[in-house]
Amino acid sequence: MSGDIFINVIYWLVINNVVLMQFLGICPYLGVSKRTETASGMGMAVIFVMALANAITWLIDSFFLQKFNLVYLRTIVFILIIAALVQFVEIFLKKSMPGLYKSLGIYLPLITTNCAILGAAILSVQQKYDFLTGIIYATATGAGFLLAIFMFASVRERLERAAMPEMFKGIPIALITASILSMAFMGFAGLVKI
């Protein structure tokens, strides 16, 4: 089983990377990647919220929605949970860790609309992962996000100084870089088979 977990983690981390292969969380990926510091901050925040959200939505899903045959309310319930959770985390951070809040605070509201969080939560219950696997899945997916955004941010600092044609500056070149990164990550295809 532990071997399976390892293989799955590799799969979620690089082979089926949440950003580069699944296109989840593109907005923060492009928006919060101008500096490595903020990127890693955002990545950490995503891992944290993703794992937490996954745990809570899993519990709600199995002990409430499935029990009362309300699975069709999944989307609406999950998004409300995530929104509330982010609010809660924000308040919590503001009070107990002002330093962290200062660096992550502005990204937390963005996380609500980060489709990777909701996506991971829904996919996790759709794939019928058990509670623990779900959390590992969410953490690995979040780590995949961190990996992608961190690598990308360090490249982007260099791009800021490049003498590229005006029309490619900003988002276009970021997307083209993401494209090449995603090509490179395709080299991992078949590394593990699940």
């Binding site: 082979i15 609406i76 088979k193 699940i194």
Partner: protein, 190 residues
């Protein structure tokens, strides 16, 4: 307090609306799901007349193979088997294999896969899997040519071809066993 109240009201209305839509669409969703599967079944079992027996999966070599036998007047006409091709290029490949009573292949369908688009996915084209039609275990070597068999591999996708070929062969083997036990005991729903 009033704010929370409004939110609750809105949520309740939304919930009610949704249950309405859900009840309205529930049956259709089931029908669609069934139809999709039935279409696949029809492709692999051209002789089937809209009816198959609902039987538990067959155990074979540590795995459970779902089987959908077609029985007419107590005689087994053939079956569709849902087999897993191991070691595909990027993971397992779920294949639906149709076998007739002569233990020859009548068709296959790729149900689930993670293969490379445009390459491994060619295994889903009849242009490729057509070569299995009418083949049986005794007259056809279910191995790709590179491994000394009779199967033409998809160009540049040997691994996918191998995996699918293995699955098809497994389907035939499982069917043979099932047919053996069927002839002894008849259709079993247990």
């Amino acid at each position: 307090m009033k704010n929370v109240f409004i939110l609750t009201i809105i949520s309740l209305v939304a919930g009610l609306c949704l249950s309405g839509v859900y009840i309205g669409t529930k049956d259709q969703i089931e029908i669609s799901k069934k139809a999709a599967f039935n279409n696949s079944l029809k492709v692999v079992l051209p002789f089937m007349k809209d009816k198959y027996e609902d039987v538990p999966p067959v155990k074979y070599d540590m795995e459970e193979v779902p089987i959908y036998p077609v029985v007419e007047n107590g005689v087994l006409q053939g079956a569709a088997l849902q087999v897993i091709g191991k070691n595909g290029y990027a993971g397992n490949i779920k294949v639906l294999v149709g076998v007739d009573k002569n233990q020859t292949i009548t068709g296959i369908q790729i149900l689930e896969h993670k293969e490379t688009p445009g390459l491994g996915t060619k295994s889903a084209d009849e242009a490729w899997w057509g070569q299995f039609k009418g083949k049986s275990l005794d007259k056809f070597k279910f191995k790709v040519k590179k491994d000394g068999g009779d199967v033409d591999a998809i160009t540049a996708a040997t691994i996918t071809s191998r995996s699918v070929t293995d699955a098809v062969q497994k389907g035939l083997v499982v069917y043979r066993e099932y047919a053996g036990s069927f002839n002894k005991m008849g259709v079993s729903h247990e």
